[in-house]
């Protein structure tokens, strides 16, 4: 499923996918795929994304149990 939390956190900082990608050292496509929910990133990439976005792992990647 899509990761809208990542998308909105990026939007809140007014960053493009490319800017975020460069900030964490991956390519634009990687960011796009993660936001689209097409594959599962590595833990280190998740952590790097959170630090750039000023969020924690739970903020961006944890789904609360219903």
């Amino acid at each position: 499923m899509k990761n809208l939390k990542l998308k909105s956190a990026r939007a809140r900082l007014d960053m493009s996918q490319e800017q975020l990608a460069e900030a964490v050292g991956v390519t634009r496509q990687t960011i796009g795929m993660i936001e689209a929910g097409k594959f599962n990133p590595s833990l280190q990439l998740c952590i790097a994304l959170c630090k750039v976005l000023g969020k924690t792992l739970n903020d961006i990647f944890w789904e609360e149990e219903s």
Copy 2:
């Protein structure tokens, strides 16, 4: 670096590496390598581990800034 939070959370449930591995669908070696800090697991594996251990991503995989 070692992931001692994972190791202690597993110990608290009195689970062996092999039991935890089976519970999340990976091999014993994968659990051992993660605890030893030898490589970075995928996000989905981290989430599966947290759910089995009754913890969140932040509990096990997030390092607070100093």
